[in-house]
């Protein structure tokens, strides 16, 4: 039922997407009716794909194992929360998620631009609908990835979800990454529309800026959650490994960051048009590449995704996107030239350009390192790969420079800044940076890593400069309208959301990178072998193996330890455990099988503002295994009815003989035997407590690692502020025409300059010059 309904909905979605693309193309050159039709078709696409997603989720919730996707990724025992999230743990489910999120983004984009950008929208619609059709087509025709593929006969239970993935952040992480990848489709599609129609002013950027920012934020959140999962779940204590799949998500994020900055230059100054077009094409291609990498298995990765049928198709799409966009950009080069030049090196736009170059260089480096196995195979015939130290060597200096520029950029005004103004805004941050650098070098071990020391000093510069921006902005506001300082701060942020939201993102990034630098340069990492009662000292903390622990539940047997920690005269316990998951659906196996499934680490973590104490245990189960194997042998002897077996054994073997003759008794017999085995396994597991066995512990003291998560959250809240529509904008009539939009932009530019002047960023002379220039430009717009 679900299978056939879903298949019909998916097929209809495919036809609707194609129809939307065709209708949009018919609607070009101002045939408005077709444009309306195509927009409604995209809404319809959203409705159909929503139906598909709901059907799949209902099937998961209701344990409908007649669907292959449910049987393979869920089971009756799977907790409800993970049942709902299990959809995207499958290949077909994540393709459906891609298409669905795209239909949401496309619907929102078309709703927001209805009646506007009449020339560009038809082409943008066609591009988005065609990409949606591509992904739906993959599900329908590529083979083996149809989410509504059925199973017959219907199995009684499913395989279950990999326990490693049963972690809250792992469940949110894939949809966040996907939303990020997918939302970049919107600015890409509008850029293509602008290129085709030669409408290359900033209007396409203004309409899709929010989507780019939302995509950027989702992708960033996805990366952050992935890092967090790795830190708390994978049992190695790290959060980043330069793994190809991680890199695949980082690259579009970095280029997207560059794009978000350089589009401001185009909006304000009409420059960098070619660059922006190239950046959005690169971002979207890298997003597709990210989707491709997790699907193809062309690179060695800790994420083994298995060879899949869809990889080559996605590669084909990337090729089409790259070749088509490049040809389009080259053919429009004459229209993309800007008559204006950057006025001065000491201006915000030139810093944006430098930051763009750094981000692109960083991406190029990561790209080279990620694909090096393929490159080296091409040149030398040998697959060679690059490890984390190589990545660190190049990315560290670039990241340090980036931190410096997150501080410099916000301090500069647009167009130019005089030496006098520069001195005023740079003085305090520079002094603080030097003081922090010198203080850390003198009083701590920070000088052991010069890179880290440089990063701390630059971060101090950036954070001071940004705080100064907030302070001066609030002070300027207060001198205008009075009130308290906090109220003025809130007011000035609320009235200039893009600007201050961006500054908050910068603060978050600086904080995050401080956490990365400290935790990677000054980490203490020890592997301890302790018997119960023994202690060791790790970086000034006494770690005592107090006692072993055992926990048993339906899914897993956990062997763990209580660690007593003494830190600065304080005492606390940490619990860490290794959980051995039972393989599901192997009823009636051996007792050993209880210890043969996946094993995961439950990390014992004491997080703190100064440092984290991280611990994981690797229990020594040699003795336990011996007993389990002996028990297995005993069980086999027992059911074979060997002489001298106890009466329970005879009962079991009677049961098994009866089941062998009468198949209808099998499930009941199996259940009984399984229950018996589970009880035995539990008893055996508990005997681990008496082993007094030594266990291996990994204990890590990770300084400032908490600030990675805090910095990430600060950056995300900044993005949220920047995206949030201003109250004044919703009251004002929406800029319907291109002219109104231009006026609006110029007006905002004048206001920005006034704020910069009031906040003391621009000296009186600088401001007088700039203001005159801006007003002249505004008059020109009004005359036109």
């Amino acid at each position: 039922m679900t299978a056939s309904l879903g298949s019909v909905a998916l097929a209809l979605a495919f036809l609707t997407a194609i129809f939307a693309a065709v209708a949009a193309l018919l609607g070009r050159e101002g045939r408005g009716r077709w444009v309306d039709v195509s927009r409604r078709a995209v809404y319809g696409l959203f409705a159909l794909l929503t139906l598909c997603v709901v059907l799949i989720e209902l099937a998961f919730a209701g344990d409908d194992f007649s669907l292959n996707i449910v049987q393979q990724h869920s089971s009756i025992e799977t907790p409800p929360f993970y049942k709902l999230a299990a959809m995207w743990s499958s290949q077909e489910g994540s393709l459906l998620l891609w298409a669905w999120v795209l239909s949401i983004a496309a619907s929102l984009a078309l709703y927001a631009t209805r009646g506007k950008l009449r020339e560009i929208v038809p082409y943008a619609t066609a591009v988005m609908a065609a990409i949606a059709a591509f992904f739906i087509g993959l599900m329908l025709f590529a083979g083996g990835v149809n989410p509504f593929a059925g199973l017959s006969p219907v199995p009684a239970d499913g395989v279950g979800l990999n326990p490693l993935l049963q972690h809250p952040s792992m469940m949110i992480h894939p949809p966040m990454l996907y939303s990020g990848y997918v939302a970049f489709t919107v600015p890409f599609a509008f850029a293509i529309g602008a290129l085709i129609t030669r409408r290359l002013d900033a209007s396409w950027i203004r309409s899709t800026r929010r989507f780019a920012l939302i995509a950027w934020a989702f992708l960033g959140l996805g990366l952050l959650l992935g890092a967090r999962w790795s830190y708390t779940e994978l049992g190695w204590g790290g959060y980043w490994a330069w793994d190809p799949v991680e890199n695949a998500a980082l690259m579009p994020w970095l280029v997207g960051t560059a794009f978000l900055h350089s589009i401001m230059v185009q909006e304000k100054r009409g420059m960098l048009k070619v660059w922006n077009a190239c950046l959005i094409v690169a971002t979207f291609s890298l997003a597709l590449l990210g989707t491709f990498l997790v699907r193809s298995g062309v690179l060695e990765s800790i994420h083994a995704f298995g060879d899949s049928t869809v990889g080559p198709y996605i590669l084909g799409l990337i090729a089409v996107v790259l070749v088509g966009s490049t040809a389009l950009i080259v053919s429009r080069l004459d229209d993309l030239r800007s008559p204006k030049r950057i006025d001065s090196l000491a201006s915000r736009e030139s810093i944006f350009l430098v930051n763009n170059l750094l981000l692109v260089a960083l991406t190029a480096t990561i790209f080279w390192g990620t694909f090096f196995p393929l490159i080296s195979e091409l040149f030398t015939g040998e697959r060679a790969s690059l490890a984390a130290p190589w990545f660190d060597r190049y990315t560290t200096p670039l990241a340090i420079l980036l931190v410096l520029f997150t501080g410099i950029g916000p301090l500069l005004a647009w167009r130019r800044i005089s030496w006098g103004s520069a001195k005023r805004v740079f003085l305090v941050p520079a002094i603080v940076a030097i003081a922090v650098g010198a203080g850390l070098a003198l009083f701590t071990d920070a000088a052991d890593s010069l890179w880290a020391l440089a990063l701390f000093a630059f971060a101090a510069f950036a954070l001071t400069g940004l705080s100064q921006e907030f302070w001066r902005g609030a002070a300027a506001r207060r001198s205008l309208s009075g009130g308290s300082m906090p109220a003025a701060l809130v007011a000035v942020v609320a009235r200039n959301r893009r600007r201050y939201g961006g500054y908050i993102v910068h603060i978050g990034v600086a904080v995050l990178l401080v956490g990365v630098a400290a935790s990677s340069s000054f980490q203490t990492n020890r592997d301890l072998r302790l018997a119960p009662g023994e202690s060791a000292v790790v970086d000034g903390r006494t770690v005592t193996y107090e006692r072993p622990t055992v926990s048993v539940d339906n899914n897993a047997i956990g062997l763990g330890a209580v660690l007593g920690i003494e830190q600065d005269g304080k005492r606390f316990d940490l619990n860490t455990e290794r959980r051995y998951f039972r393989p599901t659906g192997t009823g009636g196996g051996t007792l050993s099988s209880f210890f043969d499934g996946e094993a995961t680490s439950e990390v014992g973590l004491k997080a703190g503002a100064g440092s984290d104490l991280w611990s994981a245990v690797q229990p020594n189960i040699t003795a336990l295994r011996r007993r389990v194997r002996a028990a297995d042998r005993g069980f086999r002897a027992c059911v074979s009815g060997a002489p001298g077996t106890p009466p329970q054994c005879r009962a079991v073997s009677r049961l098994m003989r009866a089941a062998a003759v009468n198949p209808s008794l099998r499930p009941a017999a199996l259940a009984q035997i399984e229950g018996l085995q589970a009880a035995t396994a539990e008893r055996l597991a508990r005997s681990y407590l008496d082993d007094e066995a030594t266990a291996t512990f990994r204990v890590i003291v990770d300084p400032l690692v908490t600030w990675i998560w805090i910095g990430g959250l600060i950056a995300l809240s900044g993005a949220l502020i920047a995206v949030w529509p201003a109250r004044s904008a919703s009251r004002r009539p929406v800029a319907g025409t291109e002219l109104e939009a231009l006026k609006e932009a110029k007006y905002r530019e004048i206001r920005d300059a006034e704020l910069d002047h009031a906040a003391g960023k621009l000296s009186d002379e600088d401001f007088a010059l700039l203001d005159a220039e801006l007003r002249r430009e505004a008059v020109e717009i009004l005359k036109a």
Binding site: S89, N162, L234, G306, R383, S385, E598, A599, T622
Partner: protein, 137 residues
């Protein structure tokens, strides 16, 4: 100097710097990389040569002794060709027989000695549907 000329010079300088950096990057990547090899390729390798071993852990071959562990790794496509491995250090959660691993180290006396903490085990990720064989680990 007229501005157009100045811009041209600036562009040339910037491009040369970029090219220099790129050459450095390319050069170091070839010298810093380690070759990924499968057991069958390592069996005939010169002793002491370092490499990145990739392959599948042989089911049932994992034994722990003291700090470290021993196991065999076989070619991904040919289970018949395998090499003994010694390793100590962090063992990632997903590690066990039948799993694909990547390990940096060198061949000594026919045994692949893994470097501490370089063991990478591929996640039996959500995207594979293989039902895993049982084994120890």
């Amino acid at each position: 100097m007229d501005p157009a000329r100045k811009r041209k010079i600036r562009l040339v300088v910037a491009l040369s710097v970029a090219v220099l950096l790129a050459v450095g990057l390319v050069y170091t990547s070839f010298s810093a990389s380690t070759e990924a090899k499968e057991p069958s390729q390592l069996l005939s390798a010169a002793p002491g040569s370092s490499a990145q071993l990739t392959g599948r852990v042989v089911v049932g071959s994992v034994t722990r002794e003291g700090e470290g562990m021993r196991f065999r790794v076989a070619d991904r496509d040919d289970a018949g060709k395998s090499i003994p491995v010694t390793y100590s250090g962090t063992v990632p959660d997903p590690f066990r027989g039948g799993r694909e691993i990547v390990l940096t180290g060198s061949v000594e006396n026919g045994v692949f000695a893994g470097e501490r903490d370089t063991l990478v085990t591929k996640c039996p990720s959500k995207f594979t549907t293989e039902s895993s064989p049982t084994n120890d680990g």
